[in-house]
């Protein structure tokens, strides 16, 4: 007969208010195998933990059930306490009588009965638990960083300064991400390029960082400490080792009218190109879908002008395999497309704003490019339709954000700030111009942010109008913006030369597929899920995978950089030991009964099961069985459910344990 201790927590009033904890302790004390059952105000406090430790010694317990909050909250706490009390940590289980009981029910009697049942389940389970020992696995001390925006750059540099190797993969031909497209940055208005370029160059120079641009992560296998990654290096058609970035090729390329992605369609690039002058690396790539050589087998000018013979039209995609111990995902954001990302596919969506129809209705990134000294207008504010300097500019907040019916439910967080910046910078450049902002709320909750917005209003004369815009239509050369000012109960119309929509921030367009490929969570909006919103903001639920920057939620640069630093330090923490311990919740095969039907092999999502030959001493094959690789198994249990002969079992969740839990309910 086992000797189990039950510890029922009041959680102050949180549990005790709705569950008669004394009765739970009394009732469960009567269960067979329970040696002691007590209740206490705060089990997780030091005195609470000490109670458990002392009880283990005093009552010679061989199992502990803590009836308290969710195991997600305090399982590690109590397992540690149990260890200090001299028991194996896996002999401790928690019954969740707070989140699953006291907080969600209103009938005290029924809630108490439920709490007793929940404890009963765990008492039965613990009775069948076995001692388990953490598995030790070696750590490959090399990190993979996906995405070379400011967040990825920061994470890579920090990990490298910690003395570890880093592989940085960026999809575009250059690193820099969205920050490289910005003009000046709030709240200090320092030039984005000026502060970013040195960091980009550092990445290029650091011998510990291997940079793959124009590349994508193709496949990720393995597990924390031991990931195996396949990277697809897309064919650049330029031999990086030979090219010195002289620019002769792109200056001569006759394909000059390709809308530049970097300039958000406001400028042009050539078929062989670097996205922007400060690009790192400064080796160009050939866009094969636009190059005459690839389309019609003509031209070939770049090859002719390149004195270093760096052009290679026959180059093919290459798959690079690397092993890494940790992964930092920093794939950033895209902008919500007002014309297209709509719930109803047939509609243009936000047709009332005419983004698709009028060239002078642009989005925030396009305005950044107009402001940027390296942009298509060399930093002069010119409107796209006719190149005139706009004398009246309307900025519209929350386009696609906070709009569950036409766009997205959430607030994009950074637009309030960049709108203030845009209006301010516009005023700095066009002194006789008038900026207007239509907004619902001004969300400026950062250090010096509110002050920044006030400056725009008070010193630069930006007119803030509180209300959404209903419609934008064209009247002659001007746009008429029809909005409301709810503060004066009025309908207002503004004649504008240019309208800038602060469109919502959305996750990078293929973020979801990437998360699937690597194997971590994605929230319903597509931003990557952190393990805990407050206490584990840079970790994912998958060990060894960390998040940095705007891929996790809309973020400005200070936040993106702070999170990147935190992710880097988590990686270094992981790399600080040579081995790491893993939960021993893994499957194992009973070779005596396995009939080698291979069902388990087929269902295992991690390919953790392989065939094994059992031979006699002479080396003759006796039979084939299945075998679990401890390093790869993550303990999902799919194999167990699939095995017809019940020959494979999952430690911690074997059939005996689960049946005991079910039976516990029958005896009530």
């Amino acid at each position: 007969m086992s000797r189990i201790g039950v510890f029922v927590c009041h959680c102050g009033e949180n549990i005790a208010r709705m569950v008669d904890v004394t009765r739970v302790a009394e009732e469960t004390a009567k269960l067979p195998g329970v040696a002691v059952s007590v209740d206490y105000r705060y089990m997780c406090s030091d005195p609470g933990q000490n109670m458990i430790k002392e009880a283990i010694r005093e009552h010679k317990l061989d199992g502990v059930v803590v009836a308290a909050c969710s195991p997600q909250m305090h399982e590690p706490t109590f397992r540690a306490a149990v260890v200090e009390g001299g028991l194996n940590p896996y002999l401790c289980e928690m019954a969740n009588i707070r989140e699953h009981c006291s907080w969600v029910h209103t009938d005290k009697e029924l809630a108490t009965q439920k709490a007793i049942d929940l404890v009963r389940i765990m008492v039965e389970k613990v009775g069948k638990n076995q001692e388990l020992f953490p598995i030790k696995v070696p750590v490959t001390k090399r990190a993979l960083v996906i995405g070379g925006g400011i967040a990825g750059i920061q994470a890579a540099l920090d990990i490298a300064s910690g003395g570890h190797e880093v592989v940085l993969v960026e999809r575009e031909p250059s690193i820099g991400g969205n920050m490289a497209r910005l003009s000046e940055t709030f709240p200090t208005l320092d030039c984005s390029q000026c502060i970013l370029t040195p960091r980009m160059v550092e990445v290029d120079r650091d011998p510990r960082i291997t940079l793959y641009t124009y590349a994508e992560v193709e496949e990720v296998g393995g597990f924390v400490g031991n990931f195996k990654v396949k990277i697809r290096q897309k064919a650049k058609s330029v031999i990086a080792d030979l090219c010195n970035g002289c620019g002769d090729c792109w200056n001569k390329c006759p394909q000059k009218k390709i809308p530049s992605e970097f300039d958000a369609g406001l400028g042009y690039r050539t078929a062989i190109y670097v996205p922007f002058p400060q690009a790192v690396p400064n080796t160009p790539v050939i866009d094969r879908e636009r190059c005459t050589k690839f389309l019609k087998d003509k031209c070939g000018i770049c090859e002719k002008v390149c004195t270093l013979n760096a052009i290679d039209y026959t180059m093919e995609d290459e798959i690079i395999e690397v092993e890494v111990g940790a992964i930092v995902v920093a794939t950033g954001y895209d902008l919500f497309s007002v014309g297209k990302d709509q719930p109803n596919e047939q509609w243009t969506g936000y047709g009332e704003y005419n983004y698709d129809a009028y060239p002078d209705v642009i989005d925030g990134i396009q305005f950044e490019r107009l402001l940027s000294a390296s942009g298509p207008t060399q930093g002069e504010i010119r409107r796209p339709s006719d190149g005139k300097e706009p004398k009246s500019v309307v900025f519209i907040a929350c386009v696609g954000s906070r709009d569950p019916e036409k766009g997205l439910e959430y607030c994009s967080k950074i637009c309030c700030m960049y709108i203030a910046k845009h209006a301010m910078l516009y005023k700095h450049k066009v002194h006789d111009g008038q900026p207007y902002v239509f907004y619902m709320d001004i969300r400026a909750g950062g250090k010096n942010y509110e002050e920044f917005v006030r400056r725009a209003i008070e010193e630069d004369g930006v007119l803030y109008i509180r209300g959404r815009v209903s419609k934008i239509y064209k009247d002659g050369e001007q746009l008429v913006v029809v909005g409301a000012d709810t503060l004066s109960d009025s309908q207002v119309q503004v004649r504008a030369d240019l309208v800038v929509l602060a469109t919502a921030i959305v996750p990078h367009r293929d973020a979801y597929e990437l998360a699937q490929k690597i194997g971590f969570g994605c929230g319903s909006q597509g931003f990557f899920s952190e393990a805990h919103p407050k206490l584990r903001p840079v970790e994912t639920n998958t060990a060894g995978i960390y998040l940095a920057g705007a891929c996790q939620a809309p973020k400005d640069i200070p936040d993106a950089v702070a999170q990147a630093g935190a992710a880097a330090s988590k990686v270094q923490l992981l790399f600080s030991s040579d081995e790491l311990e893993r939960e021993p919740i893994i499957a194992s095969v009973n070779e005596a009964t396995c009939v080698h039907c291979r069902n388990c092999i087929r269902v295992c999502p991690y390919s953790a099961i392989t065939d094994k030959e059992i031979k006699d001493k002479k080396g003759n094959l006796i039979k084939m069985v299945a075998e679990v690789n401890e390093g790869l198994c993550l303990g999902c249990g799919a194999c167990v459910a699939a095995c017809p002969s019940k020959s494979i079992q999952l430690a911690g969740f074997n059939d005996e344990q689960v049946f005991a839990e079910i039976t516990a309910l029958g005896s009530g």
């Binding site: 969710s70 997600q72 969740n96 707070r98 989140e99 699953h100 009981c101 907080w103 969600v104 029910h105 209103t106 009938d107 029924l110 809630a111 009965q113 439920k114 049942d117 929940l118 389940i121 699937q516 194997g519 969570g521 994605c522 929230g523 319903s524 899920s529 639920n541 998958t542 919740i585 269902v603 999502p605 991690y606 993550l634 303990g635 999902c636 249990g637 799919a638 167990v640 459910a641 699939a642 999952l650 969740f653 059939d655 689960v658 049946f659 839990e661 079910i662 039976t663 309910l665 029958g666 005896s667 009530g668």
Partner: protein, 170 residues
Amino acid sequence: MSDETKTEDKPAAAEKEWQPRIIAFVCNWCTYAGADLAGTSRMVYEPHVRIIKLPCSGRIDVSFIIKAFEQGADGVMVSGCHPGDCHYTAGNYHARRRFGGFRDLLEFCGFDMRRVVFSWVSAAEGKKWADLVNEAVAKIRELGPFKEYQKLLAEDIWRKEETNSDRETG
């Protein structure tokens, strides 16, 4: 058998005492966490469901469901991560495929499938969990206690009488 349950009339007094007993098999990463979220969000729902936590819905075996009924459950819930959201990449895919098979097998064994609720609840869907529990409880209340299986067991020469437990008082 399912027709019998539908038409069964119970005395009103007994109904007052009887509380449905439902066992839920849920995965650790999504539904369990979803139920946690319902808790942290203080969503009130019916107190008749007892959760048994498993690492993944892929671990759920049809024998668990049968065992649950055998132990006197009036209903069973099975819930895991949404298709495509599995913490273990594909575990719930296997589960989903298997649930189809479960259904046939259970039906073949004579279980009233209205007593088994399959669904997907993510860690973010506290509300969905609460609604699901309420719906399941309402449905089981309507169907009444699951006596048929107990009757069957009593007739079954392979089984002992002990399974006819006094669960109606619990």
